[in-house]
Amino acid sequence: MKMRLMATVAAALVLAGGWASFGIAGAATRLTVYTALETEQLAPYKKAFEADNPDIEIRWVRDSNGVITAKLLAERNNPQADAIWGVAASSLLLLEKQGLLDPYAPKDVGAVKAAFRDTATPPAWVGMDAWMAAICFNSEEAKKKGLPKPKSWADLTSAIYKDQIVMPSPASSGTGFLAVSGWLQMMGDGPGWAFMDKLDANMAAYIHSGSKPCKMVAAGEYPVGISMEYAGVQQQNEGAPIEVILPPEGTGWEIEATAIVKGGHNEEAARRLADWAVSAKARDQYARFYPITAVPGAKTQLANYPADAESHLGRNDFAWAAANRDAILAKWTARYQGKAEDH
């Protein structure tokens, strides 16, 4: 009796395992796409792409930029991904440097602004849209604490904000890194680090993820957060009492991009994804979340998105940022993480 039960359970498990690993047989090509897109973007992007390419089905693997990059690096000998859609360009530069990408020029690559794609021909990666560092400010909590609204990066160094600010750690978050890389490029090396020293004195905590500081601010845990502008606008649209501030000094930014994985199993389908990703239809999808698109002329717009956002994009040299990433992070970690327990 017991043995029969065990045998039944075992059989059920084997069946379930087989079903899960082989999937349901179908005619469509299943394209494994690694992505760091926000979750709410996945369903509409997939639907729009599959509507134009009914013979291809997207299988998403979504995680933060860091995890996805680490995954791609770790799987270098046995690539599981076919394509990458919606991962930070700085991550793709790193992957390219290690020879993990298969350069390909999409059919309409000419429509993509030059600053938004790899300079090589054919390009290893092609941009979709841009996102930037911004300040999220909870006006309700700030009123209770008597805090003024910060108008610039420099304002954040005022002693009044001591222990009131959260930001993503550049060592684990792409948004954290683009903020730091932006400050260093716009202010220059010396003043940039001096700014971060003063900012560190006010920092309540460094957070692991890029959008989370803004969501913590939206929940009132902290009044001020450095995060990505999209997270702030989205929380605002959900009814949180927060404002999104784009500092006048300019701000660090990053490109979300598409690439093809070398050694992937569905090269043809991956190329069709790369083609579609620079189409006008794709652009209009992107613009509902990130209004600054690589292909200009989007017809959609995220509600409450700051109209002049694009003018705040600071100087940004991706090659410089990628080349100096290790050195910047080593210095940042030694300066601000080493003394962490003193706080």
Binding site: L13, G23, S64, A70, A74, K212, Q337, E341
Partner: protein, 548 residues
């Protein structure tokens, strides 16, 4: 006849050793190799180790990790011992209820207490005044959440250690005039010594290697587990990340040594001649104590349930179910929950056979000391290996094109094996603690009566250990429902488990949805746990009547 008696155990034990070598030592070895490579795969000698010792943040994280783990262990044992004592050595009412409540934290991912604490004691928490201005983010919050999360492990091990005792010892002590305090310190405590050391080593290493809690509550306080994450995920530096991961193994060697040391001093508590101890004290004090602990444990879960049901904390407290519409927050939607159920059932089934079988072979077989030491050592190893490190090791190992097991990659089977291996130690320790309390006379008598070892195993050992076996199975099930770090690098789009979905949702800041999925896991695990209690009752009536 005589030869078969010799080679069969050797073959069996060899099989277990081979499994652990391939699926534990192999991946860790691959990780070890990574420690000596730069990020392009070139051999760089000790460069990554130099980087580790010269980084003030990593040295600080080491110190922080040890502080957190020690504090958590002390507090957890201090709270769990009276709890387990009340359950086993008093005649207090409601034992089954308290036993179940003590397991409540196991039913939810460790992210749940961390999230609940934020809503209770965070800067906008309901009870933030209790903190008197101290920040939850840092050592304080990590220790509180860790004590909650690892309390069940301590109670599980201590209850088993305290549940059998020879009444003759107490009678003799009483006859000689020893008071209750003296009896406690001379009989009870020494008898529970092995369980205490086991519980301490389990809690210590769990607290050391958990990364969900410090991720949410760490604030400015880096610990080793989050530094592994930072090195691997943030800096994509597998070399230094692997070194930090291996640094976590060092305290485990210590725990292993302590466990061995105390095992050497442990004598079987129950011999073939024992009279079973039957508690008589009414235990009113224990009811109050266990009740208080129970309220605290349930309160933290209730907070998670509350958060999952409101619209937008703290500005819009309208009740809603929208946080349970997981398709909005994660691409796998509710599908991840189905994957978790399959994963957990498989882990419970195969993991119980693996861990109990392994523990039996190492505790009860004659001879083969060297092989036993190997299996025992390997069995303790997963405790101190952060799941993320084990998962990465799996990629490095199974990803090598020459590996004949290459095909496992990306399947549900690899998630299943990795989870079984990751959770191996607690199962093994629980089984070993239960088995050690059975006198070796059982095997000796069977052998002299020419009863086969298999028959003794299936007719005597398994029925005697049935409570422990059921506890292992349920522990594996509920832990596999919540395990995240071991599988975060191994899942594929079709096999993404709910625990990973929770981490993804928390990371992207949709905390209410993360809490909601925690509650779904919690509820389903609770249902399974209740079924387990019913089955246990029915079975115990048949096989455990001798315990009284």
């Amino acid at each position: 006849m005589i030869t078969s008696f010799r080679w069969k155990p050797a073959l069996l034990l060899g099989g277990w050793a081979a499994f652990l070598l391939v699926f534990l030592a192999g991946p860790l070895g691959a990780l070890l190799v990574k420690c000596f490579e730069d990020r392009y795969g070139n051999w760089i000698g000790a460069g990554n180790f130099t980087a580790f010792v010269s980084a003030p943040n990593l040295i600080g994280a080491t110190r922080n990790s040890l502080t957190i783990a020690s504090l958590t262990t002390l507090i957890t044992l201090a709270l769990a011992f009276p709890f387990a004592f009340g359950l086993t050595r008093s005649a207090m009412p409601g034992k089954a209820l308290f036993r179940a409540i003590a397991q409540v934290p196991l039913l939810a991912p460790s992210l749940l207490p961390a999230l609940s604490l934020v809503y209770l004691f965070g800067n906008k928490g309901l009870l933030r005044d209790v903190m008197m201005g101290h920040s939850l983010y840092g050592p304080l919050g990590i220790v509180i959440a860790s004590v909650f999360a690892f309390f069940p492990q301590a109670v599980l091990i201590l209850t088993i250690a305290l549940s059998v005792s020879d009444a003759r010892l107490y009678e003799a002590a009483r006859a000689l005039g020893a008071g209750p305090v003296r009896r406690f310190f001379t009989i009870t405590l020494p008898g529970a010594q092995y369980g205490l050391v086991s519980a301490a080593s389990v809690v210590f290493t769990c607290a050391l290697s958990d990364f969900g809690i410090p991720m949410v509550l760490g604030g400015h306080y880096p610990v080793l587990a989050t530094e592994v994450f930072e090195q691997v995920v943030g800096l994509q530096d597998f070399g230094v990340g692997s070194v930090v991961g291996l640094a976590l193994l060092l305290p485990v060697s210590l725990a292993l040594w302590a466990e061995n040391w105390s095992a050497g001093r442990q004598k079987a508590l129950l011999s073939a001649r024992s009279v079973l101890y039957r508690p008589t004290s009414p235990g009113t004090g224990f009811v109050a104590y266990c009740g208080l602990i129970g309220v605290l444990l349930l309160g933290i879960v209730a907070m998670g349930a509350f958060v999952s049901l409101i619209t937008f904390w703290p500005y819009n407290l309208h009740p809603t179910l929208k946080n349970y519409d997981f398709g909005h927050f994660d691409e796998a939607g509710w599908g991840s929950f189905g994957n978790s159920l399959i994963l957990a059932a498989g882990t419970a089934f195969f993991g119980t056979i693996l861990t109990f079988g392994g523990a039996y072979l190492t505790e009860k077989l004659p001879g083969l000391a060297g092989l036993k030491r190997l299996v025992r050592g390997l069995a303790m190893l997963p405790l101190g290996v952060p799941g993320m490190v084990l998962g990465l090791g799996y990629i490095f190992f199974f990803d090598r094109p020459g590996n004949p097991l290459h095909g496992l990659y990306g399947t549900l089977a690899i998630l299943l094996i990795c989870t079984c291996v990751h959770l191996y130690s607690v199962g093994h320790l629980t089984a070993a603690t239960a088995l050690k309390q059975l006198d070796a006379d059982y095997e000796a008598v069977s052998a002299s009566l020419k009863v086969s070892a298999w028959r003794t195993f299936s007719r005597v050992t398994v029925p005697l250990c049935l409570p422990a076996i059921l506890d292992i199975a349920i522990y594996l099930f509920v832990t596999a429902m919540t395990t995240v770090s071991a599988v975060v690098f191994l899942y594929s789009p079709d096999t993404k488990p709910a625990s990973v979905a929770i981490l993804n949702m928390d990371e992207s800041g949709t905390v209410a949805a993360a809490a909601a999925l925690c509650m779904v896991i919690f509820t389903s695990s609770a249902v399974v746990r209740l079924l387990h209690i019913l089955v246990e009752r029915a079975l115990l009536k048949r096989t455990q009547a001798w315990r009284g």
